[in-house]
Amino acid sequence: MEIKADTTVCIGAGMCALTVPKVFDQSEDEGTVVLLQDEPPQELEEAVRRAVTLCPSGAISVS
């Protein structure tokens, strides 16, 4: 799984950082998504998919 994050559409709601803190963080200044790893281990894939669904702005996607 490869994750892509688009900080230009991110609104900093923090759902990704709340759901999978090992993979997503938020920047200090704007609160937008920061990818801690873009190829998560298999055991986190389900949680990452959940974070994609929960994201209100469509800023994160997986392929």
Partner: protein
């Protein structure tokens, strides 16, 4: 003309109106007549609600709005020439204006920042519980617990002196009332705006270690814009978590098995908070949006200029999204509820609200294991007359 007008009368205090539930079971999107005669829509399905709220083709600007119910307050909110919201009230903006303000604030409400606030929220919660214990039963849980915790927290975060709360708490209440007369709402918005404007002036001279001072120092916003941001955050910080804490406690007290799970099993609390958010959905009238062009949602064409009211309590009980959706079950997977909204306007303070509730509910239930209503459930006055649902008072004893 559609015969449907928005049903608002509830048969049971914790459930949406039965007519709305019946509509949801028939379909996700319904033609609806608004209070001004406008032919718009009502959305009751979870997926359709998400689709509207995520779409860039819908506006949140007041000049496009129509009142879904006949309320002077609601009608006024759709007349920006009459109820002039201060610049900076970014909830009622579309991109790119909205983006500019939101970007200045998101860094202040991140998951990590809210984590750092937790010790202070715990202190405030403990102080409220101490005061309750000292006062002795019965107490009104709204006045002693549900309102002061979020109020103290948002005041400290923004840099609003809590001891001045008398100057704005009455105004926030009027602005949330569906029964307020037009002139009362105009006066309340004027009152809270001039209070915040004065506070911005004071902060310019004597900055503190708080959000408003930080925004002033950033230098990107005018005093009028800072006032609008302050008004929005102060209202949002007062009328939301306070009602979740009050109504959530009522829901737990009237569902003792759920209360026991929240009190006795710390691993249930985080999810239990999401379930209370889902089941209670205190945003019971809206949000509303207006199509800027023809948009197709689940096969229905919403025409340009047509208003959409998204019924969040119905969407959060959509059985296509949540199994056994009518039941309050603090152990169910409740993530994905729409109580904080969806799309670019999704609640800025949601991680703060979560932190407050995750601390406050278990602290209350563990301090007073014998907590119970001091009146019958039917005697608790519900906030059917307010734009945000909850309980007006919650007399409890222990």
């Amino acid at each position: 003309m559609s015969e449907l007008t928005l049903p608002t009368a509830r048969q049971r205090p914790l459930d949406p109106p039965d007519e709305v539930t019946a509509l949801r079971q028939q379909g996700a999107i319904h033609r609806m007549t608004y209070a001004d005669g406008h032919q718009g829509w009502l959305v009751t399905g979870h997926a359709a609600a998400r689709a509207v709220l995520a779409s860039p083709h819908f506006s949140n600007r007041p000049e496009h709005m129509h009142p879904p119910i006949p309320s002077a307050r609601m009608e006024l909110a759709t007349r920006p020439e009459k109820l002039r919201v201060p610049p900076g009230f970014f909830l009622r903006m579309d991109p790119p204006d909205h983006t500019r303000f939101r970007r200045l604030l998101t860094g202040q409400f991140t998951v990590r920042r809210m984590k750092m606030l937790e010790p202070r929220i715990e202190e405030i919660t403990a102080a409220c519980l101490d005061a309750m214990e000292a006062a002795g039963p019965p107490v009104d849980l709204v006045q002693e617990f549900a309102l002061p915790i979020p109020s103290l927290v948002i005041c400290e975060l923004l840099g609003v002196p809590y001891e001045e709360r008398a100057q704005f708490q009455a105004d926030t209440k009027v602005l949330a009332s569906l029964e307020a007369k037009a002139e009362e709402a105009i006066a309340a918005l004027g009152g809270i705006s001039s209070y915040l404007y004065g506070l911005v002036q004071r902060k310019r001279k004597e900055p503190g270690d708080d959000l408003l001072s930080g925004l002033i120092e950033g230098g990107e916003l005018s005093d009028e814009e800072l006032t609008g941001v302050g008004v929005l955050l102060l209202i949002a910080g007062h009328e939301t978590t306070a009602n979740m804490l009050g109504l959530g406690t009522y829901a737990l007290l009237t569902n003792p098995d759920q209360l026991a799970a929240m009190r006795d099993d710390p691993s249930v609390v985080d999810n239990g908070v999401e379930e209370l958010l889902r089941h209670l959905t205190i945003i019971h009238l809206g949000p509303m949006r207006t199509a800027l062009e023809d948009v197709e949602i689940e096969g229905v064409t919403i025409g340009a200029g047509e208003a959409v009211t998204i019924h969040l309590p119905a969407a959060n009980r959509d059985s296509a999204r949540f199994a056994d959706a009518e039941r309050l079950d603090v152990t169910r997977p409740a993530g994905g509820h729409l109580t904080f909204g969806h799309g670019i306007h999704q609640c800025l303070g949601q991680q703060l609200a979560r932190a407050e509730m995750r601390i406050a509910y278990p602290a209350l239930l563990r301090r007073f294991p014998g907590l119970r209503l001091a009146v019958t459930p039917e005697e608790v006055p519900m906030r059917s007359d307010m734009s945000i649902y909850g309980v007006h008072r919650l007399p409890v004893t222990w």
